[in-house]
């Protein structure tokens, strides 16, 4: 199995406060890794650092994506290299239509790969096809990005964008939070259908519930900015039953 992501001794801080304190994690193609941990453990910080959020400073360590120095890349380059984040809190962008937003994203990625932009017709066909995957209403793509979307619609919209962009590494940050059971099933099925032997996912959650639908190969527990325990999916059940206390 080819190595997709290698995180070594990653330390990162925000506003002078160290949040990640030596994270080590290797992800191979085809794998699903769950990261669990209490509120404030640093899960969203890890996803922000991997995607290049400007508020965070990496103070130590390295991250390689298919052998390339991920941390040296601008956020948009990381995205075009195939890193996708399903945001814990998707951002509303009034006045920018879903269509214009997606067209810019797809065509900039294609340009980066040396491909021609999609024609208007090809693009709309692709949008329609991917919308179906998450049972997203047609009308949503005429609206501004996430504006006025319900919590569930926002999360579906994240998975829709993931389907459009076909990332090699997707990070799902609490994609299950605030979803009712139907929306959860749709989102999880979407994610499962996008799985290939060549891509991988990091599923961040603090409920075991999502992992009934998206079955992880590994479960990691993040506490105080470090991975303190790794196991298989039974670890998630154990955490559900006994909480995090007995680990720390």
């Amino acid at each position: 199995m080819a190595k997709l992501l290698e995180i070594k001794n990653l330390h990162a801080s925000i506003a002078g406060k160290e949040i990640l304190r030596g994270v080590n994690l290797t992800i191979n193609e085809g794998e699903v890794h769950a990261i669990m941990g209490r509120n404030g453990a640093g899960k969203s910080t890890l996803s922000a650092v991997l995607t290049g959020h400007p508020a965070y400073t990496v103070t130590e360590g390295s991250v390689l994506l298919r052998g390339k120095d991920l941390l040296a890349m601008e956020p948009e380059i990381r995205a075009r290299e195939g890193v996708f984040l399903s945001f814990q809190y998707p951002v509303e962008i009034p006045g920018v239509s879903m269509t214009n937003f997606m067209r810019a994203a797809i065509n900039e990625k294609r340009a980066y790969e040396g491909k021609e932009p999609l024609s208007a017709k090809e693009f709309l066909t692709l949008m329609r096809e991917k919308r179906k995957l998450v049972e997203m209403a047609d009308k949503l793509s005429n609206r501004s990005v996430n504006e006025g979307f319900s919590g569930g619609e926002k999360k579906k919209n994240e998975i829709f964008q993931m389907a459009m962009l076909e990332p090699c590494l997707s990070i799902l940050d609490e994609t299950d939070s605030g979803l009712d059971i139907d929306a959860l099933r749709i989102v999880a099925e979407g994610v499962n259908r996008l799985k290939t032997p060549h891509n991988a996912s990091i599923v961040i959650t603090h409920y075991q519930r999502l992992l009934d639908y998206i079955v992880p190969d590994f479960v990691h527990v993040l506490a105080d900015g470090q991975i303190i325990k790794t196991g298989d999916k039974s670890l998630a059940l154990e955490l559900e039953e006994h909480g995090y206390e007995h680990l720390t």
């Binding site: 601008e74 920018v96 964008q161």
Partner: protein
């Protein structure tokens, strides 16, 4: 309805008349007296790629609503670069009741540009049942650009609906990052946000061909 706007003095819009005009990078200095039931809809656009970078300009509109049931709509959009300095002044006087006025004035400032909006709104003591809204929104894209906003509201009637709001800000960093995370370059992301900011003024232009033209020229779509 045609008003002679060349020599700025005072023009009167007679009962029931309608005056609609888009001032696109043209000097604006007009005083319109509106009689009962008349309608004014004015756009003042100062747009880049269509204008000199370093010009200084004063846009001034004075409106007197002198009869009931008048409607006044004023839209302003200035996108300034270089050392451009633009002041837009609106003076809307509701001298009688049962009139409406709506204003949406926006500035986008880059480089060392300076924008100024002075919005004077008067509702006379007996001008009851007036509905009046004034909104000023500004986007400052450079640390060296400067925006000054001076709303001046003098409302002497008590049975009116009047609202005003002014805000000056930068591009939404969270939105920029969200777009970059989808592979959109920072520059393109900025452009999309600036376009979104400008579109709601452009969208109020009645004449479709002009609207489309502007959208194309400014590559707003």
């Amino acid at each position: 309805m045609h008003l002679n706007l060349k020599n700025m003095d005072t023009s009167t819009l007679h009962k029931g008349d309608r005056f609609e005009h888009v001032f696109l990078n043209e000097p604006v200095d007009i005083h319109i007296i509106q009689e009962a039931g008349s309608t004014v809809k004015i756009h003042i656009l100062n747009l880049p790629s269509l204008q000199e970078k370093n010009e200084e300009r004063l846009n001034r509109i004075i409106i007197d609503q002198t009869g009931p049931n008048c409607t006044t709509e004023i839209y302003g959009l200035a996108y300034l670069q270089g050392e451009a300095k633009v002041t837009t002044e609106t003076h809307v006087n509701h001298l009688v009741g049962e009139g409406k006025s709506d204003q949406l004035i926006k500035f986008v400032l880059e480089d060392q540009a300076q924008g100024r909006f002075l919005g004077e709104l008067k509702i006379a003591p007996d001008a009851q049942k007036v509905e009046s809204h004034q909104t000023n929104r500004n986007l400052v894209l450079s640390a060296d650009a400067e925006m000054r906003t001076q709303p001046q509201l003098e409302i002497y009637a008590d049975d009116v609906q009047a609202s005003h709001g002014a805000s000056t800000g930068q591009l939404d960093e969270a939105a920029l990052f969200y777009m970059q995370q989808r592979g959109i370059s920072k520059q393109k992301a900025r452009q999309l946000l600036v376009n979104a900011f400008m579109m709601d003024v452009i969208n109020t232009i009645s004449e479709e061909s002009l609207r489309e033209n502007l959208i194309n020229t400014l590559s707003l779509d």
